[in-house]
Amino acid sequence: MKITQKELQHVAHLARLTLSDEELVAMRGQLDNILSYIDKLGELDTSGIKPTTHVFSVNNAFREDKVTESLPRDKSLANAPQHNGESFQVPKII
């Protein structure tokens, strides 16, 4: 297999996902399949070829530094899973 169980668990941790034992087995098989297929790219010699991350060359898109209306607090908080009317609430960090 191209990816060990330990590696998959590490990647899942990086992605902040927890996989059940069942998911771990199924996912590992599927990922192995997909990564083996992707190996196809190894057939191509790409030395010296510039990578394309964006089709058109993108420069910083600046706008005028002008104050515009922003979302009022109550609307910003409206979709929060937990809030106290002033700020977003999350479990204790420190």
């Binding site: 996902l17 992707i38 394309t52 993108v58």
Partner: protein
């Protein structure tokens, strides 16, 4: 003829002469939805009240001579485009209760032209899929055959248009998600050039590939919708400063001087015979219409699926990091530490396909694998762009199938993600290269399943696609195939 059967152009005409009102048209569509959508499941959310209010306003504006170019036209919107005060879920549990405080730019444009938004339509979770089966709020059905897929990820958009529930729809296309369901449901679908249409308010999947596009009953309506949604937007940093032509002017231009390229690699083994026949027939129609036909090679086609699944998944793994339960969306309230909140929220909130792609992307970007996967894929992307560059020196548009097969049965490929990914082989390259692509109905299989013809053009040459598609639409006799509703 019932009002919901009209095209956008026809309805605009009838409303202009006073033969029909926006309220009557909207009620007609809502009635049609009521009649057929329990079976078809195109809509996740119907906003009857909002729609009727918009229709009333449209009628008033028309009577005052101030109606916009979509005044009173009922449309559906894929559930990943933000609609102010109307839930936008991306087909996912993570956003089950998310109510956007703003409109996507394309939605704003529809509203500005007095279009009527009937509701939000089904899609694969976060647009990751080719069948709409990963939508957690119900799977849309192909209106031409019960138990068959609508295609995806804009499956709900295609079904709502094909089944006459609305007159047009907005979808999004990251690897074929407008063109493929359009093809499988027998409607017209356009993926514009990357940067032509604003992505502001379009929930990000793979930002260098995503593009909003219209689905419609015919090519004229596609041109009308393209006129509305196109244009530079300062809120999208990758929006391109390019003026929008009047796409309806391209409709009746004929084929004079058009050079049509046939990409050899798209007719490879694995292509369904009936699909091939439909496309060959389309090519004949173009030849008879005066187009010059040339054979073209896109030699890196066989690598596009591998490139796509690295790049799209990598971008997705980064874009979907925002669903952490902190600011909006689903949160697992049992978690007692921050990291646990992240992990439990994401593990319980995302479906299997989304997790799979996040894992592939995270792996491809992780230390030690970056060069072998992400960098390599980005280099091959350069080669794919080069293929097109060369091809468009010899022709104006490329004509090919949209998908290797017609619609398959729901469930048939769900257990094999790789087989599913490979079904996208003919649509993915356009996204990698940022070029426009279109699907136009070409015919039906003996079993009555729709088959589309794909047109691809060079950057910002949508006009050529519309011009050619219109000719195909006029000259191909689709025959009369009834919906299976």
């Amino acid at each position: 003829m019932k009002p919901y059967e009209l095209t956008i152009a026809q309805a605009m005409e009838k409303m202009a002469t006073g033969e029909l009102t926006a309220v009557e048209l909207t009620e007609s569509c809502l009635g049609r939805i009521e009649e057929v959508d329990k079976k078809l499941r195109a809509f996740i959310r119907i906003d009857s009240e909002g729609a009727l209010n918009q229709a009333l306003r449209a009628d008033k504006k028309r009577s005052e001579g101030r109606g916009g170019s979509l005044c009173g036209i009922p449309l559906s919107v894929k559930d990943l485009l933000c609609t102010k005060n109307l839930k936008t879920t991306c087909g996912s549990k993570v956003l089950e209760n998310y109510i956007p405080p703003y409109d996507a730019t394309v939605v704003e444009k529809i509203k500005k032209e007095d279009g009527v938004i009937l509701g939000k339509v089904a899609m694969d979770e976060f647009a990751m899929g080719s069948t709409s089966e990963t939508c957690v709020f119900g799977i849309p059905q192909n209106p031409y055959r019960k138990g068959h897929i609508a295609g995806g990820s804009s499956g709900g958009s295609a079904v709502s248009v094909a089944s006459l529930e609305c007159l047009g729809s907005l979808g999004s296309d990251t690897g074929g998600s407008v063109r493929q369901p359009a093809s499988l449901c027998g409607v017209v679908g356009m993926k514009p050039t990357y940067g032509r249409v604003s992505r502001y308010g379009l929930t990000a999947f793979a930002s260098s590939l995503d593009q909003v596009g219209p689905l419609s009953r015919d090519v004229t309506d596609c041109a009308i919708l393209m006129n509305v949604v196109s244009g530079y937007d300062g809120k999208d940093s990758t929006s391109v400063q390019k003026s929008t032509p009047d796409f309806t002017l391209s409709l009746k231009k004929g084929l004079d001087g058009i050079r049509v390229g046939i990409p050899d690699e798209y007719f490879d083994r694995g292509l369904d015979q009936e699909v091939e026949q439909v496309v060959q027939n389309g090519i004949e129609v173009l030849r008879e219409g005066g187009a010059e036909i040339v054979t073209i090679s896109l030699p890196h086609t066989e690598y596009c699926v591998a490139v796509y699944y690295i790049i799209a998944s990598s971008e997705a793994s980064s874009n979907l990091a925002r669903y952490d339960g902190a600011l909006y969306g689903y949160r697992d309230l049992q978690a007692d530490s921050l990291i646990d909140m992240y992990k439990q929220t994401r593990s319980k909130g995302f479906g299997a396909e989304v997790k799979r792609r996040i894992l592939i992307g995270t792996y491809a970007l992780s230390s030690g694998y970056y060069d072998a996967y992400y960098k390599k894929a980005s280099q091959v992307r350069t080669l794919i762009l080069g293929d097109y560059k060369e091809a468009f020196e010899k022709c104006d548009i490329l004509v090919s199938p949209v998908t290797p097969t017609p619609a398959w049965r729901i469930g048939e490929k769900s257990a094999d993600p790789l087989a599913m990914y490979l079904s996208d082989i003919l649509t993915i390259s356009a996204n990698l290269a940022g070029i426009p692509g279109m699907s136009v109905p070409g015919g039906f299989t003996r079993d009555g399943l729709p088959v589309g013809i794909q047109l691809q053009g060079n950057h910002f040459r949508e006009e050529k696609l519309i011009q050619t598609a219109f000719h195909l639409e006029q000259e191909i006799n689709l025959g009369k195939v009834e919906l299976d509703i």
